[in-house]
C-alpha cells in the first residue's frame, strides 16, 4: 500500500478543524484538505483527491455516514478508506461503523500528538 499523504477532514466545529489541521500537518507531516460540512466535502473531494477520509460522525445536516455515502458515489473515490471521529463513545456505535467499512473509529477528545500515529497505524493495517 502506498504511503498515506493526504487526508480529507470533515468536521463542523471550526476549533476542532484548527487543532486537527495543526496535528496532522505540523505533528504528522500530512497534507490536509478540510471541509465544514458533508455537502462541501462531496463538492470538493474529487479535486482534493485524498488518500483517506477522516469524518466527524455527528454533524448537523448530513452526518458522517451520509457524507460517506455521498463520497462513495464519486467516481474514483469508491474505495478510499474512511476513519470516523466521534464524541459518542458507545461501543455499539463504533462496532456498527466498523461493520460499515470504517478502518478505525477515533474517540473525541483525541490527542493531537497521537492522531497522526493512529491514522498511520490504521492505514498500515490495510
Amino acid at each position: 500500500m502506498a504511503e498515506l499523504r493526504k487526508v480529507l477532514h470533515v468536521d463542523d466545529d471550526e476549533d476542532i478543524r484548527v487543532i486537527a489541521k495543526m496535528s496532522l500537518e505540523v505533528v504528522g507531516d500530512l497534507a490536509v484538505h478540510q471541509c465544514s460540512s458533508g455537502m462541501q466535502a462531496i463538492n470538493e473531494a474529487d479535486a482534493a483527491k485524498p488518500d483517506l477520509f477522516l469524518l466527524d460522525y455527528m454533524m448537523p445536516g448530513m452526518n458522517g455516514e451520509e457524507t460517506l455515502r455521498g463520497l462513495r458515489q464519486i467516481p474514483g473515490l469508491e474505495n478510499v478508506p474512511v476513519i470516523f471521529m466521534t464524541a459518542r463513545v458507545q461501543p455499539d456505535v463504533s462496532e456498527a461503523l466498523k461493520r460499515d467499512g470504517a478502518i478505525e473509529v477515533i474517540a473525541k477528545p483525541f490527542d493531537p500528538m497521537e492522531l497522526c500515529d493512529q491514522l498511520r497505524q490504521a492505514w498500515a493495517r490495510l
Binding site: 466545529d13 464524541a87 458507545q90 473525541k108 483525541f110 490527542d111 493531537p112 500528538m113
Partner: protein, 566 residues
C-alpha cells in the same frame, strides 16, 4: 330409722314450742281473754299470771336470739367454706392457665409455678433465689423491668407487656401483671407476678397484617415451590393478571403465570440462588402490557421446604424515563466533549512546543489546564457510564477468562499511573489459573479504578498489593494499600455517587467520586460483590468476589443476558 327424731330436730321443736307458748300467752293477755289458765295458777302458785307472761316473752326472745345467732354462724361458716373452695379453684385455674412467680420486693425469686418452669425452660432449682431480671430480655438493664418494679415498690399494681428471654435465648412476649402483697402491718413483703404468653398471638397478628398488606400490594407477588414450581400463594394483583382464583390457585404452577414462560431460561436465571452466588436475581421481561421487572429470592419456609418468592413490578414508565434520561445525558456528554476536544487539543499542541517555544512558567500553567480538562472529561465519561448501567444499556458479554493473566495485564496497564504517583503494584497469587466469566473491558475498568484509588491513597514510594485467592464458591481479588484507611462513618456512603474521601488525612485527591459506584454496579452485573476492610492509619483492602464456575464447568458458560444478580 326414718322416723327417728334427731337431737337437732328435738332441739328445734323445743325452741319452737317455747316460742309458740310464750307468744300465745302474750297475745292472750294482750287481748284480755284468759284461756283457761287457772290450772297453771294452781300448779305454779309462786308466780302471778302476769309474771308468767313476762318471763315467757323474755324466754321466747332469748331463745329466738340464740337461734338466730346460731343460724348466722352456720351461714358464715358455709360462706367461708365456699370462699375457700372458690379460692382453691381460682388458684388451680390460675396455675393451670398463667405463668406465676412470687418474688421478694427486690425481685429475688421465692417460688414459681409449673407453667413458669415449662415456659422459661429453666430448672426450678436454677430459678429460686435468683433475681427475676434474669428472664427479662435486657437483663438488669431492662427498662420495663425497672419501671414495673419501681411501681410495685410504691404499692401499686403494674400491668403491661414485657419481653422475656427463654433459656435457649428465644424471645417471648408476655402480658404481665405484678401485684405487690403486704402483711398485716402494711409492709411490702412479696410480689406476685402473673404472666400470659402472647408470643404466638402477636406473631399471628403480625402475620395477618403482613398477609393483608401482601394481598393488597400493587406489585404482583408469587410464592411457589422451588422444585415443582407449584403455586402456594399469589396476591390479588397476581391473581387478577393471571385470572386465577383462591380456589384454582393450588392447582396452578408458576409456568401458568405467563404464556411465554420458558422453564429452561427460568432455571438458568435462578441458578445463582441455589449456588449461593446471589440472594436475589432480577429479570427484565417484555410482556404484552409492557416492560416488567421480576425479582426472585429463595427461602426455606417453616416446614423446611424451599420456596421461591417472586415480585413482579411494571417498569414500563421507569424504563421510559431512564431511556429519556440516558438520551439527555448522552447529548450533554457529546456537547461537552466537543469543546473539550478543542481545549485539550490546543493545550497538548502548546505543551508539545510544536506551535512555538514556551517558558517553564507557561508550561506549568498549561499542565494545570491540561490536568483539569482531563478531569472534566473523566467526570463526563463516568456520568455517561453510570447512566448507561442504570438504563441497562451497558452490555455485559461475559466470557471465560483467566483471572491470573487478567490481573497481570491490569498491573501492566496501570503501571503508568502508579509511576506518576510514585507507587508500585505487586501481584501475588498461589493460583496458576482461575477461570471466571467476565466482560474484560468492564472488569479492567473496575481494576483500574481500585488500583488508581489505592495508589492515590498510598504513601510516597508505597506498594499496592494485588491478590487472588479461592474463597468458597468465589474467586477473591484483593487490592491493598497502606493508606490512611476509611473511617467507619463512610461505610454507608462509599459506594454512592459523588462520595470522595478527601478529609481522611487532610489531603485532597482528584477523582470524580463515581468510580466505586460504577465498579459496584459492574461487579453486580457479574453476579459478584465488592466490599472492603479498612483500619484507620494502617490501610484498606478492597476485594471483589466473582463466581467461580463449578469444577466440572471450568470452561465457563455465558451468563444469560438481561439478568442482574444482587
Amino acid at each position: 330409722m326414718g322416723r327417728k327424731i334427731s337431737a337437732q330436730s328435738l332441739y328445734q321443736m323445743v325452741i319452737w314450742a317455747t316460742i309458740i307458748l310464750g307468744m300465745v300467752l302474750s297475745i292472750g293477755t294482750i287481748l284480755h281473754q284468759p284461756m283457761g289458765l287457772k290450772g297453771l295458777r294452781t300448779i305454779t302458785p309462786a308466780f302471778s299470771l302476769d309474771q308468767i307472761i313476762v318471763y315467757g316473752l323474755l324466754i321466747s326472745v332469748l331463745v329466738l336470739a340464740l337461734n338466730r345467732r346460731n343460724q348466722i354462724m352456720k351461714l358464715q361458716s358455709r360462706l367461708l367454706e365456699q370462699q375457700a373452695r372458690e379460692y382453691g379453684l381460682q388458684e388451680r385455674a390460675m396455675n393451670a392457665h398463667a405463668i406465676v412467680s412470687i418474688t421478694d420486693p427486690n425481685g429475688k425469686i421465692i417460688s414459681v409455678n409449673d407453667n413458669f418452669v415449662t415456659a422459661m425452660g429453666y430448672d426450678r432449682a436454677d430459678l429460686i433465689d435468683q433475681s427475676i431480671n434474669m428472664i427479662y430480655w435486657n437483663g438488669p438493664d431492662d427498662a420495663i423491668f425497672n419501671a414495673a418494679h419501681a411501681r410495685s415498690k410504691s404499692g401499686a399494681v403494674w400491668s403491661g407487656e414485657n419481653i422475656l428471654r427463654r433459656s435457649d435465648n428465644a424471645k417471648l412476649i408476655m402480658q404481665c401483671t405484678i401485684v405487690p402483697l403486704h402483711d398485716k402491718q402494711g409492709r411490702h413483703v412479696k410480689n406476685m407476678t402473673i404472666r400470659t404468653d402472647i408470643t404466638e398471638s402477636r406473631k399471628a397478628e403480625a402475620d395477618r397484617s403482613l398477609k393483608v398488606l401482601l394481598d393488597n400490594l400493587h406489585d404482583e407477588v408469587y410464592i411457589y415451590d422451588a422444585d415443582s414450581l407449584d403455586m402456594r400463594y399469589a396476591n390479588f394483583s397476581a391473581m387478577a393478571r393471571c385470572e386465577w382464583t383462591r380456589e384454582s390457585l393450588p392447582a396452578k404452577n408458576i409456568a401458568d403465570s405467563d404464556p411465554s414462560f420458558n422453564l429452561k431460561v427460568f432455571r438458568a436465571h435462578v441458578a445463582p440462588l441455589f449456588s449461593g452466588h446471589a440472594e436475589t436475581v432480577t429479570f427484565d421481561v417484555a410482556q404484552k402490557k409492557g416492560q416488567v421487572e421480576i425479582k426472585t429470592r429463595l427461602y426455606t419456609d417453616e416446614k423446611g421446604e424451599r420456596m421461591f418468592v417472586s415480585v413482579l413490578r411494571d417498569t414500563t414508565e421507569r424504563k421510559k424515563l431512564e431511556r429519556a434520561k440516558l438520551e439527555t445525558v448522552s447529548v450533554v456528554s457529546h456537547e461537552l466533549r466537543t469543546p473539550l476536544t478543542s481545549i485539550k487539543g490546543a493545550l497538548r499542541l502548546l505543551k508539545s512546543g510544536k506551535v512555538g517555544p514556551i517558558s517553564d512558567a507557561a508550561k506549568t500553567m498549561l499542565d494545570i489546564a491540561d490536568r483539569n480538562s482531563e478531569r472534566l472529561l473523566l467526570v463526563v465519561n463516568d456520568i455517561l457510564d453510570l447512566e448507561k448501567i442504570k438504563a441497562g444499556k451497558m452490555k455485559f458479554d461475559l466470557a471465560p477468562a483467566d483471572l491470573v493473566n487478567f490481573l497481570r495485564d491490569a498491573v501492566a496497564m496501570n503501571k503508568g499511573y502508579g509511576d506518576e504517583q510514585n507507587v508500585s503494584f505487586a501481584f501475588e497469587t498461589p493460583l496458576a489459573k482461575a477461570t471466571a466469566n467476565i466482560e474484560s473491558n468492564r472488569m479492567m475498568q473496575v481494576l483500574s479504578n481500585l488500583m488508581s484509588n489505592a495508589a492515590k491513597f498510598s504513601p510516597d514510594g508505597g506498594v499496592v498489593r494485588i491478590s487472588l485467592e479461592h474463597k468458597g464458591k468465589s474467586w477473591r481479588i484483593g487490592v491493598t494499600d497502606n493508606g490512611p484507611g476509611i473511617p467507619d462513618e463512610a461505610r454507608g456512603t462509599i459506594f454512592e455517587s459523588f462520595t470522595q474521601l478527601d478529609n481522611v488525612d487532610g489531603i485532597k485527591r482528584s477523582g470524580t467520586g463515581l468510580g466505586l459506584t460504577i465498579s459496584n454496579k459492574i461487579i453486580r452485573a457479574h453476579g459478584g460483590r465488592i466490599d472492603y476492610q479498612s483500619e484507620i492509619g494502617k490501610g484498606t483492602t478492597f476485594f471483589v468476589d466473582l463466581p467461580a464456575p463449578a469444577e466440572d464447568d471450568q470452561s465457563g458458560s455465558s451468563c444469560p443476558q438481561g439478568i442482574a444478580a444482587e
